[in-house]
Each structure stands twice: as structure tokens, then as C-alpha cells.
């Protein structure tokens, strides 16, 4: 019990540290939201008093410690302030976009995990064979392609040249949930962004799965099982795979936490209305309040995912269980 209390306290501390960094990070970068709100040709002609007057509308004129206090208390009241660049409450903007990011990132995570794990296992199974070398080389090559380039290539091939898939957005404008055309539009618009992310992510999963499996296969218990005459397939899937799951599980759980952060580049290229493209908007306009809100939900989800990962480790691997 003491262990769990200690874990909880550690995570609370980590959360506070993350919230503090989230507050400071946007403010450490040079710039402020004025240029985005008023245009640089106007800002360059404004007096300091006028600038402060505009910043006051967003509470950004206050001393840093007061802004920090307002930020912390705001979080507990669900008040993240008003976005400078969107002209709407930050919380509303986040909730508008969160489902799209969860859908996009979640699908990419599931597909890349399945593909990566499968290929990783097969590669480990055929370690050293031509198939293994080809899979490794191919995955390293594909995984090193920049996602924005992959995204652009997909658009050029499937949108511009073939005209099969739409190149931007998350749904067909003019349709609404739960209309069939809406679902069709959503599905079509998911294919390319999910593919771009999957190509990128599955290479990492493949490498983790393969190396875990290779290491597991070299353990004493595998040698022992083999000496007992257990079939190779049974050894592979029953003994080695179960033990190789832990690094994969960690990777997937961390991916689950990062899911909320969105995919900055891919969402921007495909004009996908998720949180990732919102981060780009927030950074480009130095919209502190929007960035704070985005970072808060990303931090909370990552910390929560870590927390859950820690909690469930003992269930997956009994070796990690502790007495008491």
C-alpha cells in the first residue's frame, strides 16, 4: 500500500512540475500574441501602453507569478482562458479537436502496433535470413522518411494524380453525424494521414518487437524448454513472446499517452482539425493560453498513461511485483 501511495505522490509531483514547465515554456520563447492578433505593421506603431492594454484583455499584463496562480486555479475550475488567435475559450477549442486527434492517433497506434509487432516477430523468427534482413532494411528506410514528405507524396499520388482520396480535412463539409456520407467522408480522410503515421511508427514497433523477441529467445528458460523437447512454435509464442511483451507494452502505453498530443506535421499537411495542428497554430501565434491548455491535457494524459503502465506492470510480468 505504501508503494502505491509513494507512486501517487511521485506522479502528483511530476504533474506539478509538468504544469509549471507548460506555463513557462511558451513564455520563454521570444515573441507575444500581439503580432498575430493585430498584425506586425500595426504592432510596430503601437505605444507600450497600448500593447499592455491589449495584453490585459487576456490577463497577460500581470506579473508572472499572478499569471501562474490564475493558470493553476483556472485548471481546477476548468477555465483555461480565452484563445487569442481563435477568439474562443481554450477548453472549447480543445474539446472540439480532441476527438479527431484520438481517432487519428488511436488508429495509427493500433495499426502500427499490429503491423510492427507482426513483422518484428517474423523477423526475429527468421533471424539472419534474407526475409529478416529485407524487413530490417526496409523498415529502417521507411521509418527514416520524414512524415511530411511521406504525407506530400501520398497527396500527390492519391489526390492530385489518381483523384481517389481527399487531401484535407477530417470530414466532408455539408454532411453531419450520423449520416452515412459523413462516415464515408471521415473514413476517406483518415486513410492518408493514418498511413503516413503508420509508416513512420510501425518501424519503431518492429525494431522493439524484434529485439525483444531475439533477446527472449536467448534466455535460459528457452534453452531449457528446447531441451525438454517443446516445439519451436510453442517456445516462440508461449514462452518467448510473453516475456518479450513488456517493452512492447511500455511502448504502446507511452504511445497511448502521447496520443492526445496529436501529430503536428501530419495534421498540418492534411489540414486535419486535431490538436497537433492546433499546437502549430498556437506556437506560430504565440497564443500562450492556447498552448498552456494543449500542454496541460497532453501532460495529464502522458502522466496518466505512465501511471497506468506502472500499475499494470505487475499483472503482465510477475517479476515486477513487490512485497507489501
Amino acid at each position: 500500500m505504501t508503494y502505491y501511495i509513494r507512486i501517487c505522490l511521485q506522479y502528483l509531483l511530476a504533474l506539478f512540475a509538468a504544469l509549471t514547465v507548460n506555463f513557462l515554456l511558451p513564455r520563454l520563447a521570444p515573441g507575444d500574441p500581439l503580432n498575430s492578433l493585430l498584425g506586425s505593421d500595426n504592432v510596430s506603431t503601437m505605444s507600450e501602453a497600448q500593447k499592455q492594454e491589449v495584453l490585459a484583455d487576456f490577463g497577460l499584463h500581470l506579473p508572472l507569478h499572478e499569471q501562474f496562480w490564475n493558470y493553476l486555479t483556472g485548471i481546477f475550475h476548468g477555465d483555461f482562458g480565452n484563445s487569442v488567435v481563435l477568439g474562443m475559450p481554450v477548453w472549447d477549442a480543445l474539446m472540439q479537436r480532441l476527438p479527431w486527434t484520438l481517432l487519428l492517433m488511436g488508429l495509427a497506434l493500433v495499426i502500427s502496433t499490429l503491423i510492427g509487432t507482426l513483422l518484428g516477430i517474423l523477423s526475429a523468427w527468421r533471424r539472419g535470413a534474407v526475409a529478416d534482413i529485407a524487413t530490417m532494411t526496409g523498415s529502417l528506410f521507411i521509418g527514416s522518411l520524414p512524415p511530411f514528405w511521406v504525407a506530400m507524396m501520398l497527396i500527390i499520388v492519391f489526390s492530385t494524380t489518381l483523384g481517389w482520396l481527399p487531401s484535407f480535412g477530417a470530414y466532408q463539409l455539408g454532411t453531419s453525424f450520423p449520416n452515412w456520407n459523413w462516415f464515408l467522408g471521415v473514413g476517406k480522410r483518415l486513410i492518408m494521414p493514418v498511413a503516413a503515421l503508420t509508416i513512420y511508427q510501425s518501424a519503431a514497433v518492429l525494431l522493439i518487437a524484434r529485439s525483444s523477441m531475439v533477446m527472449a529467445r536467448e534466455q535460459d528458460y528457452v534453452t531449457f524448454a528446447r531441451s525438454r523437447g517443446v516445439s519451436e512454435g510453442k517456445i516462440f509464442f508461449k514462452h518467448a513472446f510473453r516475456n518479450a511483451l513488456l517493452p512492447l507494452y511500455t511502448h504502446v502505453m507511452l504511445g497511448l499517452g502521447a496520443l492526445v498530443g496529436g501529430a503536428l506535421i501530419v495534421e498540418t499537411v492534411f489540414s486535419y482539425p486535431g490538436l497537433g495542428s492546433l499546437v502549430v497554430t498556437g506556437v506560430n501565434s504565440r497564443d500562450y493560453l492556447l498552448l498552456q491548455g494543449l500542454f496541460v491535457i497532453t501532460s495529464v494524459s502522458i502522466i496518466a498513461a505512465n501511471f497506468l503502465t506502472d500499475l499494470f506492470y505487475p499483472l503482465i510480468d510477475p517479476r515486477t511485483r513487490r512485497a507489501g
Binding site: A29, P30, G31, D32, L34, N35, S36, L37, L38, G39, S40, D41, N42, V43, S44, T45, M46, S47, Q50, E53, V54, D57, F58, N82, V84, V85, L86, G87, M88, P89, A93, Q96, M152, I155, I156, S159, T160, G163, P166, S167, F168, G169, L173, G174, T268, V269, F270, S271, P273, S277, L278, V280, T281, V283, N284, S285, R286
Partner: protein
Amino acid sequence: MPSRFGALAAAVALVGTMSGALAQDTPTTPSIHTKAGVLSAVNNDGPKTAKSLTIGIWNTASNITTYTIGNSWNDWVLYMISEKLLEPSPYLSNAHPWLATEVRQVSDDGRIWEADIRQGVKWHDGTEMTAEDVAFTYNLYLTGPVNRWTHHVSDVPRIEKIEATGPYTVRFEAPRPMPNFDMVTAPEMPILQKKQWENVEDPRTLTDPVIGTGPYKLVDYKADEYYHLVAFDDYWGGKPTVDEITLVMIKDPQTMFAALKSGEIDGAARALPPELVAEWNNDPAIEIVQAPSLWGTWMQMNLNDPLFNNRDLRYAISLAVDADTLVDRVMLGRAQSGKHGWPHLDSTWTKPGMAIPFDIEQSKAGLEAAGMKDVDGDGFRDKPDGTPVDFRIVVSTNQPLYVRAAEIMVDQLAAVGLKSHVEAVDTATFNNLTTSGDYEFSISEITPHGLADQDQYVQFYSGDQMRKLLENEPERLAIYDRWWEARTREDRQKAHFDLQEYENRYPSRFMLWYPDGLFAYRWQSYDNYVSTSGYGIYHKYSFLQDAAREGFTVPLDQKLDD
């Protein structure tokens, strides 16, 4: 000898008289260098009306209110909904009656003006627009929160009293002359509905669709994602030619043009990169047009740097700028040379015939005279106090053309012995560096608002850096003061011309080029776009009936030589 001197004096006097006479003929009709017309191989003839159009926009339009749109990239979106007393813009001195049937000067000294408000104009909620709405709007801009438009009533000019003197008459009074009220202020300020705005505590947080008098009603939107506009049947200027327009946000330029090419959008409301003109010239589905946009690209210098306090040094550097090469190599010839200076070559407010020479030898001589010599023998000039020079030319990473231009500028400055290097930074950092003064040179885009508007030209002097020039250069200050005190449009234009001439002689920034204004659309969807200077082809006038837009728009029916 005396006779020669006499002849010279007479000639100078004659030139002076002529230039004085020329200045009286104001505002000038500029010889438009950037023609409007079709660049595609074939001048197609598509439909003049449409049920619906989807147009891509790239810069956030937020809630489409005057308090959340801060730039000139998307102000046309606002003008689809909210209108001005006179239109189309302050850039052409051809302001036409719009929400006002007349805007007249009441006092001889140019301090008092009156506007007659058009009767029968309906707001999108069906109520009638009155003088109360206009007076409320101008007062809100005067005393309320700052926005991109407010300085046109609170600074240049500084209006002190705005009141509705009748149901359809509004009176404006200022302590100083404002002879250009009808040419700059009235065609600049979008009118708000008093009923919608009077109880809004914080105008920056209004999320309800804004109610305007324009040809389109905003019926649905998600900020930064899409805006759905529907034609306003009771529009006073007649039913718009397109029933519904959906503006979709596509920030990535390649995705935007890919979507246009694939037919997902009908128009791309951003400048077409010059290299795509040749690539798409024969595309049967896409029409490429050229329309004066009054945009420009300039290289600013940090006037907070004591080095640039020396006006002769600034002039010497300006002589080293080879704008023609930039036009050829960066814009592939699809721009006008910036050697004309500031403001825009095609602006109605611009003094005709100005030119800044490109002369490397004269530039070197000027730098020598300013004390910029190679003291340490490294092949580059040093500051007069011997400190080595390595100018930073900052550019924004989202502007690849400017990065290229900056690289060329490094070579051009090196040709006169000035060492420099390029620093590409993200947009927000770029804006911060340039407004805080932490740079030597910066290359950026300048919109028509900053490049083709006489009041804005003077408004720039409210900024810290330009104010420094006024403090250090009495001649500049004298002309500036003369502009403020001018009671007539002619006197003000003359002062403005003098200020331009002085500015080009002792520049505070270097114009590099004025882009041709290249746009593309799918002609089979809709082919009734028109050009109006300052906005290209994407603006509300492209969706109005011919009768409503005659006189200040140019049809795109001319095939231009490519």
C-alpha cells in the same frame, strides 16, 4: 557667367513651379504597371453564377470580427460580411458610395465631416441600418479595445467627436485637419451592428456569427477550420452571384494547390508561386490570372542600431540593392522591381517617377564616406569605430522565397564589402525580433494596408523606430509636421510626396519587389472573378452583380502575354 546662372535659376524655378502644379493634381491616377488579365494559354469562358463554391484560405480568420482578424491576408473574408461607408478601399482614391451615399467635408479646415447613410440597408437579422450603428462603430473604435482598424480613428486621424445628427446622418469632428477622411478613413472602417455589439463586454470573445450588411451571411463556422457563408437575399446591392461559399482552412501551400488541382476546392485564395504559372499554364481545368494585389516585399533595417542613424550610410546601402536581380532569380520575373521605393508602385498615393539607382561604385564611395572601411584586413568593411560587421538578415522559415532573397542579399552586400549572414527563424520569433529591434536586417512581406495607404504611411511614424528618425532628422520632421497641418487634400498630398522623396533618398527600408499578384481557380466552377487593386481576385466584388461593382473593378477578360 551671370546669364548662365540666371538661366539655371529660371530652369530650377520652372521645374519647381511645374512640380508644384503637378502636386495640385492630386490624388494622381497611377500608371498601373501590374495589368489584370488571364495568363493561362486559353482564356476560358465559364459560368458567371454558381450554386456553391469552396475556396481555400490559409491564414486564420478567427471569428471574422474586427477584433480577431489582425492581418490583411484575410480581411477580405470580413468584408464579405461587414461593409464600409465607402468602398472598395483606401488604396485607389476611387472610393465609391457604399453604406454612405455621400461623405462630405463640412468645414474648410478639413476638421469636420458628415456622412449620409444609405436608407433601406438591412442587417443580416432583417433590421435596418441607421446612423446610430455608424456612430456606435466609430465610437467603439475610438474608445474601445484596440484592433487592426482603430488607429484610423484614434491616431491618424485622431477623431474626437462622433455623433448621429439625424437618423441617417453622422458627423465626425477632429482637432486637426483630416482632408483624406473620405478617401482613407471612410473606406477603411467596417461598420458593426450596435444591437449585436453594445452589450458585448469583451469584443475579442464574441463567438456568435457576426451580423453585417454584406452580400454574405455567416451561418456556421469553426474557427481555424471552415466558414460557411450564404448569400444575403436582401442585400442592398442585389443578389450575389454565388449562393453559398465555404471557406476552408488549408495552411500548407502545397496541400492547398494540390486540392485545387484535384478539384476539391474551386479557388485558392493565396498567391500562386511563380513556378506554378509555367507548370499549370496549359492545364485545361485551371485558369491562372494576374491581378494587382498591391503587396510588396521589403528589407527593413533596425533603426534602433546607432549605425543606421547615419542617413547617408542608409542611402549608400540602398545603392547596393540590385532589385532587378531579385525579381529575376527569386520571382522568376513575375514582379515589379522595388527600386521605385515605398509606397507601392501602383498605389494612387505614390509619387510617380521615383527611382533609387543601383550603383555599386557610388555605394562603395558612400560607405567609405560614412567611415565604413576595412580596418582589420579581412576583406570586409568594419564600423567607423573599427568593430567588425556581420549583419544578421532574419527571415521567417515559412517564406522560402525570402530565404532565397536573403541569400542573394548576402552576395549583394558582400559586393560592396559588407559582411552578412542569413538567420531563418519561426514566424513568431521573426515578428518578435523585428518589433523588438533585435536584428540588423529583416526581409518580410508588406500588405496593401502598409504599402498603399497614405494615412498608414504616416502612422508608421508612431512606432519607436520611425519616431527615432523624426528625432534625428529635422528635415524629415518638418515634412511630417507639414503633412499633419495640411488642410487640403492637395497640400497633404504634396507633403506626402515630399516625404516619399525624402524617404527614398534616405531610406528606412529597402523595397525589393512588388509581386505581380498571381491567382488560380477552376473556371468550370465559376468564372466571374474581377480584379480590384489591393485584393487580387478574392474579395466580395467577385461575387456581386456587374451593376454593383462597375467603376472600381477590372474584368479579367484580357489575355496577357506570358
